[in-house]
């Protein structure tokens, strides 16, 4: 169970001195990153990790949590004002947000979006604080075979992250697994795949690879499609919603909060799915579904609330089991590791105070972005107009500084640039990058626990089939793989049929 005393002290730590400044700055930059179309929460966290190097672990982590929650919320601002989602997760907010803006209600739409995101985010952060210690306590029973099974399950999720082609997702994931094996053997200590380079004996540094694949590659994409900044015509008045406005959205919150949480916990689906499901369910249950799509405030509320309600669910398996469910939490996990906090059940045993500070930080971040969002709404709206000719070079220089600053070695900078180019080429030719990153994280966990399990059983493979929890998790991995492949094949068949109908 959550330790209320530790949580209380966690709030004391998070809301004092530098931690509070870091939280506010993180939320502020997070909203800016979210509001600019083309920049995602994942990219924002990857870009700003280097800014946390000189900070204490908790200061750095609350800043990143601020960026995470702020960016997820900020995506809705662009959806409402220019009908272009700031982040992929905010696409559902376009349906009713933009029609509200066209009716001259842009201020009201942004106000409702802000409050709704705050409600969803706070709900899910409270659930995280409640459920995470229970799950971590259960996970303490796990041994090497269970961790091997968990890592295998995590890798099976990569199939689900494969976008349009499962084969390409599998190739990306398996290549990531090979990259994870570069460096010293986890048991024997001999060098593998290093080609005699001493720089590679410690393996490929995770953060430069991450910055390259998620931030620099997106930077290259922005260079390719660079667009003139969109013009915003909507005037922002009456941003603070009335009590009646919020009261009318309560049914939407009651649906969106649990949907967002459950979707968040489910591996490989995140804020975008949560927003769409919440919107669809609210519309289905409404007495006037015909008003949705024409500027219905409940539509904006459902999408934004569901979107932010997924954040706590996304963090739950990462912090308790060390299994990131999506790209964003994979980056967050990397950030925790840099600050010597290895996610997993032992984190709750060895750093219980820090864990509760993280919970307090997550809850506070959801309140801070609401305050900032309401006060600086007009400023964030103007940020959408930022000139890409200056923004894109800034992204590049931040990537360079970030990857170099980790260990102050040129090799990390080169790693970042190479993976940036690889990531750009992969995305351009429809190979997803998220499976590669997830496999790189889970690869060493899978391999070392596989070998430890065999060591426990003196080489007997039956150890993976005689332990109930291991068998259940491995069965889940097989089930997830089969369902994902079938679902994607069906989607591809439908796409082919549609193309055939159009004569393409």
């Amino acid at each position: 169970m959550v330790d209320l005393n530790l949580l209380y002290h966690g709030f004391g730590t998070v809301l004092s001195g530098y931690n509070l400044i870091a939280l506010v700055l993180g939320s502020f930059f997070g909203i800016i990153i979210g509001a600019i179309p083309g920049l995602t929460a994942t990219m924002g966290i990857a870009l700003l990790i280097p800014f946390t190097f000189g900070m204490t672990p908790i200061t750095g982590i609350v800043m990143l949590l601020g960026i995470y929650t702020g960016a997820i919320y900020g995506g809705g601002i662009a959806s409402i004002l220019i009908n272009t989602p700031g982040t992929p997760a905010a696409a559902a907010s376009c349906f009713d947000g933009y029609p509200m803006a066209k009716k001259g209600l842009a201020g009201k739409a942004i106000g409702i979006a802000t409050i709704s995101s705050g409600i969803g985010g706070t709900f899910t952060a409270l659930c995280l604080a409640f459920f995470a210690p229970i799950l971590a306590n259960f996970a303490l029973r796990f041994s090497a075979p269970e961790y091997f099974a968990l890592a295998t399950f995590g890798l099976s999720v990569t199939i689900t992250l494969s976008g349009r082609s499962p084969v390409k997702g599998v190739i990306s994931g398996l290549l990531g697994l090979l990259i994870a094996m570069i460096g010293l053997d986890p048991i024997g200590g001999f060098q593998r795949f290093t080609f005699g380079w001493t720089e590679m004996s410690g393996g490929i540094s995770f953060v430069p690879m991450l910055i390259g694949l998620f931030a620099l590659s997106e930077g290259f994409h922005q260079v390719e499609v660079i667009l003139s900044a969109p013009r915003i015509s909507a005037k922002l008045n009456n941003i603070l919603p009335t009590f009646q406005d919020i009261k009318s959205c309560i049914p939407a919150y009651l649906r969106a909060c649990p949907i967002g949480l459950i979707v968040g916990i489910t591996p490989a689906i995140g804020a975008d799915t949560a927003a769409f499901l919440s919107y669809a369910e609210t519309k289905r249950a409404s007495k006037h579904p015909e008003t949705f799509g024409t500027g219905e405030p409940a539509g904006v509320a459902a999408a934004q609330c569901g979107e932010n309600a997924s954040t706590g669910g996304d963090v739950l398996p990462m912090i308790t089991l060390g299994i990131p469910g999506d790209a964003c939490t994979a980056v967050l996990m990397g950030a925790l590791t840099i600050h010597n906090l290895q996610p997993g059940p032992m984190l709750f045993q060895n750093h219980a105070d820090t864990v509760h500070q993280i919970f307090a930080g997550m809850i506070s971040a959801n309140i801070v972005f609401v305050i900032l969002g309401l006060i600086f709404a007009r400023f964030f709206a103007k940020v959408i107009n930022i000139d890409r000719k200056f923004l894109v070079p800034l992204i590049f220089i931040a990537c360079m500084v970030g990857s170099y600053a980790i260990n102050n070695v040129l090799f990390d900078l080169i790693t970042c640039v190479i993976f940036g180019m690889i990531g750009y080429i992969m995305v351009r030719f429809d190979f997803p990058v998220a499976p590669m990153v997830l496999a790189q994280i889970l690869g060493s966990m899978m391999e070392s626990n596989f070998r430890r399990s065999l060591s426990m059983s003196q080489g007997d493979f039956l150890i993976f089939f005689t332990r109930p929890i291991t068998v259940i998790i491995l069965a889940l991995a097989v089930f997830t793989t089969v369902v994902s492949v079938r679902r994607q094949n069906q989607a591809l068949k439908q796409e082919a049929e549609q193309l055939a109908k159009l004569g393409i």
């Binding site: 280097p50 800014f51 190097f53 000189g54 900070m55 349009r164 082609s165 084969v167 599998v170 190739i171 398996l174 290549l175 090979l178 094996m181 053997d185 048991i187 024997g188 001999f190 593998r192 795949f193 290259f220 260079v223 390719e224 499609v225 660079i226 890409r388 000719k389 200056f390 894109v392 070079p393 800034l394 590049f396 220089i397 360079m400 500084v401 170099y404 600053a405 102050n408 040129l410 900078l413 080169i414 640039v417 940036g420 180019m421 750009y424 351009r428 030719f429 429809d430 190979f431 899978m446 596989f450 070998r451 430890r452 065999l454 060591s455 003196q458 080489g459 591809l492 193309l499 393409i504």
Partner: protein
């Protein structure tokens, strides 16, 4: 814009992946075997076998004309800009440790914004000079994160 097939790309990727898999087998054959902990080569080889199977599947799909099409989002894009930026970034990466962060950062930022189409010279120069200096001061003094010094700064 007509949809472009990824057939050639899929074939090239498949052909690139297969030698990587073969190299895994070649190198892992030289690794020592430690008793009771499983062969160190099992996981990499298992990965290589699966990877090769996926590559063959992609190859066969491409040959049978079942490759996907490139999404239409690429319409109206400019690849020459990407090439220029890649060259600039490569040059920056290779020289930053020798020349220093600001000495390389100024021409890098100038060239970058220029390639992206910025032609307002005063803004361009202010941006190119201001960003590396501001970044350097922020990281060195406020965040205590060292940056490359080089022969200059």
């Amino acid at each position: 814009m007509p949809k472009i097939s990824l057939k050639k790309v899929d074939i090239i990727v498949s052909l690139l992946v297969i030698p990587i898999c073969l190299y895994v087998f070649y190198e892992s054959a030289r690794w020592p075997v430690i008793a009771d902990t499983g062969n160190a080569a099992w996981v990499p080889r298992g990965d290589a076998v699966c990877l090769m199977a996926a590559a063959v599947l992609l190859f066969v799909k491409a040959l049978r004309g079942r490759s996907l099409t490139i999404p239409s989002r690429l319409a109206g894009t400019d690849r020459s800009r990407v090439l220029w930026i890649a060259v600039l970034t490569g040059a920056y990466t290779l020289t930053v440790e020798y020349l220093g962060f600001i000495a390389t950062g100024v021409p890098y930022m100038f060239g970058f914004a220029f390639v992206l189409g910025e032609r307002r010279w005063v803004r361009l120069v202010l941006f190119a000079v201001g960003v590396p200096i501001a970044t350097y001061i922020l990281f060195r003094t406020a965040l205590h994160v060292p940056l490359p010094q080089g022969w200059f700064i």
